[in-house]
C-alpha cells in the first residue's frame, strides 16, 4: 500500500504541473495556476506533518513548537528573497523597504549571508537545527516528558512570535516579508517558476519520506520507538534516551525548516502569525488525522485537512472552525490510529 501511495504522490506532483503547462487556458484538461500553488502549499504542509510524525508518532514527543522551525526556515528564505527585490522596492533603495522605513543605514549583522541563495538556505536550515539541539538538549536532559514538553515548546514559540513582532529584531515586524520579485535572478511570478517550486516541494517531500522511513526502520528507529513505549526500561537497558530523542527532534526541526524554505517563495509572504500557537497545534492535527507512527498517514492527513479547509473557506467560511474543532475531538475519541488505521481496520 505504501508503495502505491508513494507512486500516487509522485504522479500527482508531476501530473498537476503537466496539466497546467501542457494545455492552454480554457482547455477542459487545463488546471489553473491556483491549483499548482495549492498543491505546492499542501506538499510543504505534508513535510511538516511528516516531521511531526517522526518525533510524535515514533518518539512519543508532542512538540507544539514546530511552527517556530517552519517560520524560521521561511524567514531565512524570506531574507534572501527580500534582498533579491534589489532596487525595485517602493523606496528604490538597496536595503529592503522596511529598513528604509525604519531609517536604518545598513544591513544588520544577521543579514550577512542574505545575498547568496545557497548560504541563506544553509542558514535557514542550520539555525532551527541549532535551536532544536540546544533547547532539546536541556529539555531532554532534565527528563521533561509529555505534556510539560508540549507546554514549554509552546511557550518558546510564543516568546519567539513576540520577538519577531518587534521592529528592532530586523524581521519586518508585524508585516514580515512580502512583495517578493525574483529568485536567483529569475522572476517568481511565472508559470514555469511556480511549477518548478511545486515540483521541488514534491521532490523534497518524497526525499523526506524516504529518509524518515530509512531512519525509522533502522536500529535507531527501533530504539526511538522503545523509548516512546517505555523510556524507563530503555534507560535501564543501558541506552541514553537523550541522544535518540535529541537527534529525532533535530532532524524533525530541519525537515520543518525545509518546508518553510519551500513554502515562502510559493505563497509570497512570511509573517510572525506562522508562529502562533494555533498554527503549531494544527500541524499536530494533520498528523493525528492521518495516523501517527505511519509516516504515510500524516502526509495524507495534511492533504485531507488542508483540502477540507480550502473547500470550506470557499463554501462556508464560518463553518471551518466547527469542522476543525470536531475533527480534533473525533480523531482523539474515535480514530486514535487516524485515517490509515481506519483503512487497515476494513482491509486486514
Amino acid at each position: 500500500m505504501k508503495k502505491t501511495l508513494l507512486l500516487a504522490t509522485a504522479a500527482l506532483v508531476l501530473l498537476v504541473p503537466f496539466l497546467h503547462l501542457a494545455f492552454p487556458a480554457g482547455h477542459p484538461l487545463h488546471l489553473s495556476e491556483f491549483y499548482v500553488g495549492l498543491l505546492g502549499k499542501f506538499l510543504c504542509f505534508a513535510i511538516c506533518a511528516l516531521a511531526l510524525d517522526l518525533i510524535w508518532g515514533f518518539g512519543g514527543i508532542l512538540s507544539l513548537g514546530h511552527g517556530l522551525f517552519f517560520a524560521l526556515g521561511g524567514y531565512g528564505m524570506g531574507m534572501y528573497l527580500m534582498r533579491q527585490i534589489g532596487r525595485d522596492g517602493q523606496y528604490q533603495s538597496d536595503l529592503p523597504d522596511f529598513m528604509v522605513f525604519l531609517n536604518w543605514k545598513e544591513l544588520p549583522w544577521h543579514w550577512a549571508l542574505s545575498d547568496s541563495l545557497v548560504g541563506q538556505v544553509i542558514l535557514a536550515l542550520a539555525v532551527p537545527a541549532l535551536l532544536a539541539a540546544v533547547f532539546g538538549f536541556f529539555a531532554f536532559r532534565s527528563r521533561i516528558q509529555g505534556v510539560y514538553f508540549s507546554i514549554i515548546t509552546q511557550a518558546l514559540t510564543v516568546a519567539a512570535m513576540l520577538l519577531f513582532f518587534r521592529n528592532e529584531t530586523g524581521f519586518g515586524g508585524n508585516n514580515g516579508f512580502t512583495d517578493f520579485k525574483r529568485i536567483a535572478g529569475m522572476p517568481l511570478n511565472t508559470p514555469g517558476m511556480k511549477v518548478a517550486l511545486c515540483v521541488a516541494s514534491g521532490a523534497a517531500l518524497i526525499a523526506c519520506y524516504l529518509v524518515a522511513r530509512a531512519l525509522t526502520q533502522s536500529r535507531w528507529g527501533r530504539i526511538l520507538q522503545a523509548i516512546r513505549d517505555a523510556e524507563g526500561r530503555v534507560r535501564f537497558l543501558g541506552y541514553d534516551p537523550v541522544a535518540f530523542k535529541l537527534s529525532a527532534y533535530v532532524i524533525s526541526a530541519v525537515m520543518c525548516a525545509l518546508a518553510g524554505v519551500l513554502y515562502v517563495p510559493q505563497v509570497g509572504i512570511i509573517n510572525p502569525s506562522e508562529m502562533s500557537p494555533a498554527a503549531s497545534i494544527e500541524m499536530a492535527i494533520w498528523a493525528a488525522v492521518g495516523g501517527r507512527g505511519t509516516l504515510i498517514g500524516p502526509v495524507l492527513g495534511a492533504f485531507f485537512v488542508n483540502g477540507t479547509k480550502s473547500v470550506f473557506t470557499v463554501w462556508w467560511p464560518e463553518g471551518w472552525l466547527y469542522v476543525l474543532g470536531a475533527l480534533f475531538i473525533a480523531v482523539t475519541l474515535f480514530l486514535p490510529a487516524g485515517l490509515v488505521g481506519l483503512v487497515r481496520r476494513f482491509k486486514p
Partner: protein, 513 residues
C-alpha cells in the same frame, strides 16, 4: 468729563452697557500690541476692580467692539453697531483672559467656584497674580483650598524678579508632594541664575521626588498585585481541573470567555427590562457566569474528557478542538466584534490616595474578589463532603471507588466546579478589559504558567505563583517594556520546568511521583 459724556451718548445710541473700569484700560485690553494688552490686563487685575470680570467675559463671548479707540460692551441680544471693529483675540490673549477670570473667581463666595479656579490656575502661577493670590489667601476659610493657595502663592513667588523671594518660595514648595509642582520647579530651575535660589530649588525638586517615589512604587506594586489577582483568578479554576484532576484543558480560556459573555447577556437583559436596577446587575451576573461556565464544563467532561483520563496529550488536542468550537459558537451568536460591558457606577472611578496614586475601584474589587474566591475554594475543598470526595478520588481513585464514592460523578462535579470558577474569573475580567471571542486565548498561556510554576495539586503554590508573576511582570515591564517582560517570563517558565518539572512549590515526598 468729555469722555464720560461721549460714552453716555454712545450708550444711548446703541443700547450698550457701560462699566466702572477705567475706559482707557479697557480699550488697552481690547486692542493694541500683544505685550501691552497683557500688561494692561495684569494692571486691571492687580487693581481688583469688580467690573473687570463682566468685561472679560464679554470679551470672551465676542460682545466687545472698538469704535474710535473706545471699547464698547454690547448687551446680550443687542446688535453691534455696523461701523465698530471686533477686537482680535489670539491664543495667548485667550489664555491670559481665562487665567485672569480664574484669578477673579478665587475671590468668589462659592467654594466650588473657588476650587475650580484653583484647578485652572495650578499650571499658570506667575508673579503678576501674586497680589491677587495673597488677597484670596487672606479671605480663604476652607483648609484644603488654603493649602493649595499657599502652593500657588509660592509658585507665583518663584516667578518673582527678586532672587531672595524665589529662594524662599522654593523652600516653601519643598514640602509639596504634587507632580505638577515638581514640573514647575524643574521649569524654573532651568532658567534660574541666582546660586542660592538655584540650590534651594534643586533641594526642593529632590525632596518632592523622594515623596513622589513612594507613590510611584506603590502604584507599581498595586498594578502588579492587580495583575497577579487577575492571574490568580484565571489560574484557580485551572488549579482544580489541571492541578487536582490532571486534565490539560486548553479550553480553559474559552470558559473564561463563556463567563464574560454570560455577564454581557445579563447586562443586556438588565438594560432592556430593569434599567433602574442596572447598578446591581453584577449580583445576578456572578452566579449566571458561574452556572454558564460550569454547565459547559460539565458537558465537556461528560462527552469528551471522561474518555481521555490518563492520556494527557489526547486531552490537550481534544480540548483544543472544543475551544475552537466554543470560540466559533460565540462568534456566530454574538458577532466577531468585541462587545461592551459597562462597569456599574459603584465600580467606576478610583480612590485617590496620593496626588500620583489612584487605585481604581474595579481593580480593588477584583483583588478582594480573588481573595474571596480563593478562601471559598479552600473551604470547599477542605471542609465539605464534595471536597473530601474530590481529594479522595484524585489521591487514590480505586480506593475511593472501593469505599463507595461514585468517582465518575465526582469527576464531573470537580470539573464543573473548576469551570465555574473560570466563569467567575471571566465575569471579573469583563469589568477591566475587552470582551471578545479571543478573550480566552490571551490568558491561557499565562494561566498554565501560573499553575505549572505553582506546582501541581495545591492551592498555596498557585497563590504564590499568581501574585509573584503579576508583580514580577509589572516590575520587568517598567524596566524593559511589556513585550520583553513577557518574553523574559516565558523563558523563566521554560527554565523552571527544566529544573523543577513539578513546580516551584511542589509537595515533597512520594505522593508526587
Amino acid at each position: 468729563m468729555i469722555k464720560r459724556f461721549v460714552l453716555g451718548w454712545l450708550l444711548a445710541l446703541f443700547g450698550c452697557v457701560a462699566w466702572a473700569l477705567p475706559p482707557d484700560l479697557a480699550s488697552r485690553i481690547a486692542a493694541g500690541e500683544g505685550d501691552d494688552r497683557v500688561a494692561a490686563l495684569q494692571q486691571a487685575l492687580a487693581a481688583g476692580d469688580a467690573s473687570l470680570g463682566p468685561f472679560l467675559r464679554a470679551l470672551q463671548d465676542g460682545r466687545v467692539r472698538i469704535k474710535g479707540g473706545q471699547a464698547l460692551v454690547i448687551a446680550e441680544g443687542a446688535t453691534a453697531p455696523a461701523d465698530a471693529e471686533e477686537p482680535m483675540l489670539n491664543n495667548r490673549m485667550r489664555r491670559e483672559i481665562e487665567s485672569a477670570l480664574a484669578g477673579l473667581d478665587l475671590l468668589s463666595q462659592d467654594v466650588d467656584v473657588r476650587r475650580k479656579a484653583l484647578a485652572t490656575l495650578r499650571d499658570d502661577a506667575d508673579a503678576s497674580k501674586l497680589a491677587l493670590f495673597e488677597k484670596a489667601l487672606a479671605a480663604e476659610s476652607d483648609g484644603g483650598l488654603r493649602t493649595q493657595l499657599n502652593a500657588l502663592v509660592a509658585g507665583a513667588k518663584l516667578s518673582s524678579t527678586d532672587p531672595s523671594q524665589r529662594r524662599i518660595a522654593a523652600t516653601e514648595l519643598a514640602g509639596s508632594a504634587d507632580p505638577a509642582t515638581r514640573a514647575l520647579l524643574l521649569e524654573k530651575l532651568a532658567a534660574e541664575a541666582d546660586p542660592a535660589a538655584k540650590s534651594a530649588m534643586q533641594k526642593a525638586v529632590s525632596d518632592i521626588g523622594d515623596r513622589l517615589a513612594w507613590g510611584e512604587r506603590a502604584q507599581l506594586l498595586f498594578s502588579g498585585l492587580s495583575l497577579g489577582s487577575v492571574l490568580l483568578l484565571v489560574a484557580l479554576g485551572l488549579a482544580i481541573t489541571y492541578g487536582l484532576m490532571g486534565v490539560i484543558n486548553m479550553a480553559h480560556g474559552e470558559l473564561l470567555m463563556v463567563g464574560a459573555y454570560a455577564t454581557y447577556s445579563v447586562q443586556q437583559a438588565f438594560r432592556a427590562w430593569a434599567p433602574g436596577a442596572f447598578d446591581h446587575y453584577l449580583w445576578v451576573a456572578l452566579p449566571a457566569s458561574f452556572l454558564a461556565a460550569a454547565l459547559v464544563g460539565a458537558a465537556m467532561e461528560r462527552s469528551v474528557i471522561r474518555w481521555l483520563y490518563g492520556r494527557p496529550l489526547e486531552t490537550l488536542l481534544a480540548t483544543w478542538g472544543i475551544s475552537l468550537v466554543l470560540m466559533q459558537a460565540v462568534r456566530s451568536l454574538f458577532g466577531a466584534q468585541n462587545v461592551a460591558v459597562e462597569n456599574p457606577a459603584w465600580l467606576s472611578g478610583g480612590w485617590a490616595l496620593l496626588p500620583n496614586l489612584t487605585l481604581p475601584y474595579n481593580r480593588l474589587a477584583i483583588l478582594a474578589f480573588a481573595a474571596l474566591v480563593l478562601v471559598g475554594m479552600a473551604l470547599l475543598l477542605s471542609r465539605t463532603r464534595l471536597g473530601l470526595m474530590v481529594r479522595g478520588v484524585t489521591q487514590n481513585r480505586r480506593m475511593a471507588a472501593c469505599v463507595g464514592v461514585n468517582t465518575a460523578r465526582v469527576d464531573t462535579m470537580a470539573f464543573a466546579l473548576g469551570s465555574g470558577i473560570a466563569g467567575l474569573a471571566g465575569c471579573a475580567l469583563s469589568q477591566i478589559g475587552n470582551v471578545g471571542p479571543d478573550l480566552g486565548q490571551s490568558y491561557i498561556v499565562d494561566a498554565f504558567m501560573v499553575v505549572v510554576l505553582g506546582g501541581v495539586g495545591q492551592l498555596a503554590g498557585t497563590v504564590y505563583a499568581g501574585l509573584g508573576l503579576g508583580v514580577l511582570s509589572k516590575l520587568l515591564e517598567g524596566w524593559q517594556g511589556a513585550v520583553l517582560a513577557k518574553i523574559a517570563l516565558l523563558m523563566l517558565l521554560v527554565l523552571v520546568i527544566q529544573k523543577k518539572p513539578q513546580g516551584l512549590f511542589a509537595l515533597k515526598g512520594r505522593s508526587v511521583e
